[in-house]
């Protein structure tokens, strides 16, 4: 720098405190360090620095985003858990509702299977998911009016009562909506047995119905011989019966098997084995057998394709068919059942399946055998439960072929 340049520089320096300080600094630094080298190094560091700093703020945003995602997923999981709990509750209600509807049907049925003896054995078929209560004949006479095909919802419910209440003479409070109705009917039902027989201690008969290979026979029918009153096994072949007697003679039957008679003993778990129907010496031809088989199997069926239906049997159509076949009480008589040329008696029923599985609004859509209607309805009401596909009320129909 020339002197003149220096003068100019100094002039500026005087007005610029920063420059002034810097000059001071460099004067200090002179000799101790090579400032230009240091400055070059610093310049490089400054250029490199941005990369780190930018990442820092980015990281901040990332951590915020991550936190939000965790919160969201946490809330979704909680929501699902709560939903599942609700479903469990609904299922239980379904079962209890189904129980009650079967109970009602049984009472209706009792009319047709009139038990008019002085002291009919008190048999109460007792199935874990499906309590079926059969009060003695005396009580059921009062319920003649309920032969109506159309049943209102309240009536269905009012006919229902928990089995505990019927079994014990003391009446226990029933947790259902139509409480008053229930209580009155209960009284008529339970009072009579109590009055007739005094306090009866009931025995429990349970067991399982299987085939020769130990496979369970779902919905096999098991009936007490004298009274003709019976029940059906559940989808796993298990059944329970309650009776005042300590020994029961029962007949068990299931589609495609020889029916068998057995004696059940109280408080013991019985295993009933059914054997396959044997081939008969003068067996019909293969074609005939095929036809017969076809008719047998398709005893109950929907008249629309499965997809169009809003509801279906809970345990599936094939099991439901078994149930119908095993438990049908032929209005024409036993012999007719296996005849090849059965009159094609059909009853088409339509009904609603509620989300809890209960059946309402049962109607006969068409039928060519009016006497069959009752049986068809009985089968439906006593039968295994249905489920609505959508989770809401589903309307569906099915055909019972006799």
């Amino acid at each position: 720098m020339t002197k003149a340049e220096m003068h100019d520089f100094e002039k500026v320096m005087m007005d610029d405190p920063m420059l002034s300080d810097a000059v001071d600094g460099y004067r200090e630094a002179m000799g101790t360090t090579d400032s230009s080298k240091d400055l070059a190094e610093l310049s490089n560091r400054i250029k490199a620095a941005p990369a780190k700093l930018v990442k820092g703020s980015f990281k901040q945003w990332m951590s915020i985003a991550a936190g939000l995602i965790i919160l969201l997923s946490g809330s979704v999981v909680l929501y699902r858990i709560f939903n599942q709990k609700e479903n469990a509750v609904v299922v239980q209600n379904t079962e209890s509702a189904a129980d009650t509807s079967t109970a009602a049907a049984t009472q209706v049925d009792s009319n047709t299977v009139a038990i008019n003896e002085a002291k009919p054995p008190v048999i109460i078929p007792f199935d874990e998911p499906k309590p079926v209560i059969i009060p003695p004949a005396a009580a059921t006479k009062e319920k003649k009016s309920t032969q109506e095909i159309k049943l209102s919802e309240t009536e269905t419910k009012s006919n229902a009562f928990a089995r505990e209440d019927v079994i014990l003479p003391q009446q226990q409070p029933v947790p259902s909506a139509a409480k008053d109705n229930v209580v009155t009917k209960q009284e008529t039902a339970s009072k009579t047995p109590a009055a007739d027989y005094g306090y009866t201690r009931l025995n429990r008969f349970n067991g399982k119905i299987v085939d020769e290979h130990n496979n369970p026979l779902p919905f096999a029918n098991i009936t007490e011989k004298n009274s003709g009153v019976g029940t059906y096994a559940d989808v796993n072949g298990n059944f329970v019966l309650l009776s005042a007697d300590s020994v029961l003679n029962v007949q068990t039957r299931s589609m495609g098997f020889m029916s068998s008679t057995s004696q059940l003993r109280t408080n013991s778990n019985s295993k009933i084995v059914l054997r396959d129907e044997p081939a008969v010496a003068n067996a019909p031809s293969a074609g005939v057998l095929y036809e017969r088989n076809k008719n047998r199997v398709i005893r109950s069926q929907s008249d629309t394709t499965a997809d169009e239906l809003e509801a279906e049997p809970y345990d599936g159509w094939s099991n439901y068919n078994l149930y119908v076949n095993n438990n049908m009480r032929n209005p024409f008589g036993e012999e007719q059942l296996n005849k090849k040329a059965t009159p094609k008696a059909e009853v088409v029923l339509s009904f609603d399946v509620n989300p809890d599985g209960s059946l309402t609004n049962i109607k006969v859509e068409r039928s060519n055998c009016n006497t069959c209607n009752t049986e068809a309805i009985r089968l439906l009401k006593e039968g295994p439960k249905w489920k609505s596909k959508s989770g809401r009320k589903g309307h569906t129909r099915f055909i019972v072929r006799f």
């Binding site: 002197k3 003149a4 220096m6 003068h7 520089f9 100094e10 002039k11 005087m14 007005d15 610029d16 405190p17 920063m18 420059l19 002034s20 300080d21 810097a22 000059v23 001071d24 600094g25 460099y26 200090e28 630094a29 101790t32 360090t33 400032s35 240091d38 400055l39 190094e41 610093l42 310049s43 560091r45 400054i46 250029k47 620095a49 941005p50 700093l53 930018v54 703020s57």
Partner: protein
Amino acid sequence: MTFLREHDTKDRSDAELVSLYRQQGDVAVLGTLYQRYMDLIYGVCFKYLKETEASKDAVINIYEELVEKLKKHEVENFKSWLYTLARNHCLMQLRKGKGKKTIEITDGFMQSEQLLHPEDVQQKEEQLQIMEECLQQLSPEQKQCVELFYLQGKCYNEISEQTGFEWNKVRSYIQNARRNLKLCMDNKTKQS
């Protein structure tokens, strides 16, 4: 793209770069701005910290402080604001490292740039007269240095040689003289 951007930013003023940085948060813009003054910052730091390594660290640290603070504060004059920031940083360093050592703060601040107002010729004449009078009131050393610097246009080195005063002394004489003159002239203009 970076090429163009650098070219762009280099031609822009300090104020433009500051606002650009505040809008976009682009640290590269800040880097360009800082590099303009990095030399000075280094010098200032060295003045206070008196050490190469410490000064280098200080320069980098000040830069990082800058990244955040420039976002938050409204800055009119970037250069002077930066200068204050650097100085405060250095002083804090010193306070931490060495305990309480008092450091004289130069009265550089008093010497901010003065805006020149447009003046009439007549006023100028009057002012010159006043200045002459005030000049006489200075101490001899101050008077001498001022005359040599302003009237003769000499650089500090020359004045130092001529008067025998140390370089730093020359500088401080001139600075004090300026202040005194200013005070005197203000008084005189008030009176008249």
